[in-house]
């Protein structure tokens, strides 16, 4: 054999060996999947199993989730959890979509855009064991895809008691006009009435949805479906009133000047440092505010609409824990994830979680925890039979589903008219056009 032939042979053998090693890796993986297909084992295996989690939320929620993961892995050393949870300023859908694109779609996901991922076949129907844990898990096309992590959060005004006292405000508003009168009083007293975390796109949903619920969605839960059919328009009286009211908060000088560069996680600082008197947000902020300044005294109330009705985000929706299709097909992973979900919703662990995030429990098992005065007010509102519970425009599903991509686009449109100061029906015509284009694009993709 010549030197040349030897070298050639060696090269070919090396390449083949490398290919075989790579194939072996692939086969091993494929073998696991093939063997496990459909064979849902309920026995907690002692062999090492790994799965990934993707979730989001404010710092308190992220910490509570990280604590749950740490407690579980400590109790189950054979199960390794790769916590991929979103940590940047990227919108959660963008982050999840990017993860999917790079092949890192989490095995266990805090799912928000459920219909999108369910219809794309990326998440699986939930195992019955999960459904046995929660009180109310809404369905999509008669299938359960999510187990709600906490009940829908109502948004409301978190206010500085000192600022209210200084401005001579002594009672909660009974109507929206009374609420506006409070803003005037605060402004006159020399404090910026409202802080607004406009740097984070999700924060826009708080106020915008408050007005959409007041003027459209509470009275007509099918509004989205009608919009898709072209029966209603954003230029109609309801949506126009909603966005006029929203815009006036800014044009009348109630919202802080630097709203566009204030991040959601800076709003607590704005409040406790006295740079602003109020924040419109949810109960998950209570922990952040208390951590920022334990001596800061604050209260919470829902903002009434013009008719004096209390309308809050409070209907359970399709958001919650979901399992990826790939993980569901792997019996070991599915069993390990189910163990985690059982642990997460167990009385001891879940009590810690809902207390940390000021959440409304969703389990069948009754959970009680010592709530702060502000949280007690939230629970009082949620248990009041006069409170009207609605949903954010992006939370509807089925025929009433909003085109997923429309939400953040619309929030950016709102930024545009606020920075230009020229809100008009033309912007709402653009909202209609974008909705229609998104519906068309989504239909074309199916």
């Amino acid at each position: 054999m010549t030197m040349h032939t030897k070298t050639m042979a060696l090269s070919v053998i090396s390449v083949m060996a490398l290919s075989l090693i790579l194939s072996a890796c692939g086969n091993n993986n494929a073998g696991t999947t093939a063997n496990s297909n459909g064979a849902s084992s309920n026995e907690p295996a002692n062999k090492e199993v790994k799965f990934s989690i993707g979730a989001t939320g404010d710092p308190a929620t992220k910490q509570a989730m990280a604590d749950a993961v740490a407690a579980f892995t400590k109790a189950n050393p054979n199960i390794k959890i790769n916590d991929l949870s979103e940590g940047g300023s990227m919108a959660y859908l963008d982050w999840l979509k990017t993860k999917e694109a790079v092949g890192e779609f989490p095995d266990l996901i805090e799912m928000r855009d459920t219909q999108l991922f369910a219809e794309a076949g990326k998440i699986a129907e939930l195992p019955q064991e999960w459904l046995d844990l929660v009180a109310d898990a809404p369905t999509l096309n008669d299938k359960h895809y999510t187990a709600p992590i906490v009940g829908a959060f109502p948004h409301g005004i978190i206010y500085s008691k000192k600022a209210y006292e200084d401005a001579g405000v002594s009672a909660e508003p009974k109507t929206y006009d009374e609420f506006l009168a409070i803003q005037e009083k605060l402004k006159t007293s020399g404090i910026t009435p409202l802080t607004f975390g406009g740097k984070d796109i999700f924060h826009w949903g708080f106020w915008i949805n408050k007005f959409f619920m007041d003027d459209m969605l509470a009275d007509d839960p099918n509004w989205n479906a009608k919009r898709t059919k072209g029966e209603v328009s954003f230029t109609d009286a309801g949506p126009m009133q909603a966005m006029t009211d929203f815009t006036e908060l800014f044009t009348k000088g109630y919202v802080e000047q630097g709203w566009a560069s204030t991040a959601d996680n800076q709003t607590a600082s704005m409040l406790v440092t006295g740079k602003a008197a109020q924040l419109f947000s949810g109960p998950w902020m209570f922990a952040q505010i208390s951590q920022a300044d334990p001596s800061f005294e604050f209260g919470w109330y829902p903002v009434p609409d013009r008719k004096g009705r209390i309308i809050v985000n409070g209907t359970n929706n399709l958001q919650g824990w979901a399992i990826s299709t790939a993980a569901n097909e792997d019996a070991d992973k599915q069993a390990a994830i189910t163990e985690f979900v059982k642990f997460f919703f167990s009385k001891e662990q879940y009590t810690k979680f809902v207390q940390a995030v000021n959440g409304i429990p969703t389990t069948k098992e009754t959970i009680t925890y010592e709530a702060s005065p502000q949280m007690n007010r939230v629970l009082e509102v949620m248990n009041d039979p006069n409170t009207i519970k609605s949903m954010q425009i992006n939370a509807f599903w089925g025929e009433a589903q909003m085109p997923t991509q429309w939400r953040n686009w619309f929030y950016k449109l709102a930024q545009e008219w606020l920075t230009k100061g020229d809100f008009s029906a033309d912007y709402m015509k653009k909202a209609d056009a974008e909705w229609d284009a998104n519906v068309k694009a989504n239909a074309a993709a199916k």
Binding site: L93, D94, G121, W259, S261, T404, A441, A444, A445
Partner: protein
């Protein structure tokens, strides 16, 4: 011995050439396979995807002909992104190169601590775009930023600007940040060019009575032309592809005020679930970079001087 050895043009010589060629192929093959798999194939596949309505999630992909391209050329948002891209690119090319040239001349002429100054000016280049974006976002923050706090302290609160929240300033804030980060890199290119200019040319001009400006205008600047060709082209390509700073500092906002073509490709493809449309936009960006680069090379090469 090996240097003096000659290879006769015979059948044996041809065999040796073939042997060398076969070795070369084996060395090139791994890189070629990887490059094809991770660069060539995805690039070619993007042409294919640009004719689809794929949302990036579904397994099924539908072909929709030229619809994405038609929509692209009719979209106000795309024209706005194109306008922002051109403003950003031209500003960055001019400002980065001026700053880099000034820094290079200063560093070249300084007598002491030359290496220290070179390192200091080059340091921002080493920072990740994301980290730098976060740092500058904090500096520019209206409520808690260094600039605002400084103005508050000296009683000039009315001068405070919401740099990243005002559409009139947001693009400027990105330009400032990028010039700060990028100039050091181009400074090195100019510095190499400056150090390649024979000192006797300047000495002779000085003896002939040329002042500093005349020496720069008629000797240094023309002889830096090749460095400028490279620097301008690299800064233009970098500016056309700018992403990190926008993602971290403004997210394309407020509204759509700082959306560029690169950013819109990402937002549309990933955020708005229109991978097909996003890919069509990325092809337009590719064509734009190609055209701009060819024009630049053509124009700048004309004024290069051979020594």
């Amino acid at each position: 011995m090996a240097n003096t050895e000659t290879i006769p043009v015979t059948a044996q010589g041809t065999a040796k050439k073939r042997k060398r060629l076969s070795y070369s192929i084996w060395f090139i093959l791994p890189a070629f396979i990887l490059y094809t798999a991770f660069v060539i194939y995805p690039t070619l596949n993007s042409v294919n995807l640009s004719f689809t309505s794929w949302d990036g999630v579904s397994d099924e992909i539908r072909y929709i002909g030229f619809d994405n391209f038609v929509e692209m050329f009719r979209s106000e948002r795309v024209y706005n992104a194109l306008k922002n891209t051109l403003i950003l690119s031209l500003s960055l090319v001019v400002l980065e190169n001026i700053a880099a040239l000034i820094l290079a001349i200063l560093v070249d002429q300084v007598r002491w601590f030359k290496s220290l100054f070179r390192s200091i000016f080059y340091f921002p280049v080493l920072l990740s775009g994301i980290v730098m974006g976060f740092v500058w976002a904090i500096i520019f923050n209206f409520n808690f930023g260094v600039i605002s706090q400084l103005l508050d302290r000296i009683g000039l609160s009315d001068w405070k600007i919401d740099w990243l929240g005002n559409p009139n300033y947001a693009l400027l804030a990105i330009i400032i940040t990028t010039v700060w980060k990028g100039s050091g890199y181009y400074m090195i290119i100019y510095l190499a060019g400056l150090q390649g200019i024979p000192p006797e040319l300047n000495e002779a001009a000085a003896i002939d009575g040329a002042n500093r400006w005349q020496r720069f205008r008629h000797i240094t600047f023309p002889l830096l032309a090749s460095a400028m060709t490279v620097s301008v082209m690299l800064s233009m390509i970098g500016a056309l592809k700018i992403f990190d700073q926008i993602a971290v500092m403004t997210d394309g906002g407020p509204g759509f005020a700082t959306e560029t073509l690169t950013y819109i490709v990402y937002k549309v493809g990933f955020g708005e679930l229109r991978q097909g449309y996003g890919t069509a936009l990325s092809l337009m960006l590719f064509v734009l970079i190609l055209i701009v680069s060819l024009i630049q090379i053509k124009l700048l090469r004309k004024r290069e001087v051979q020594m």
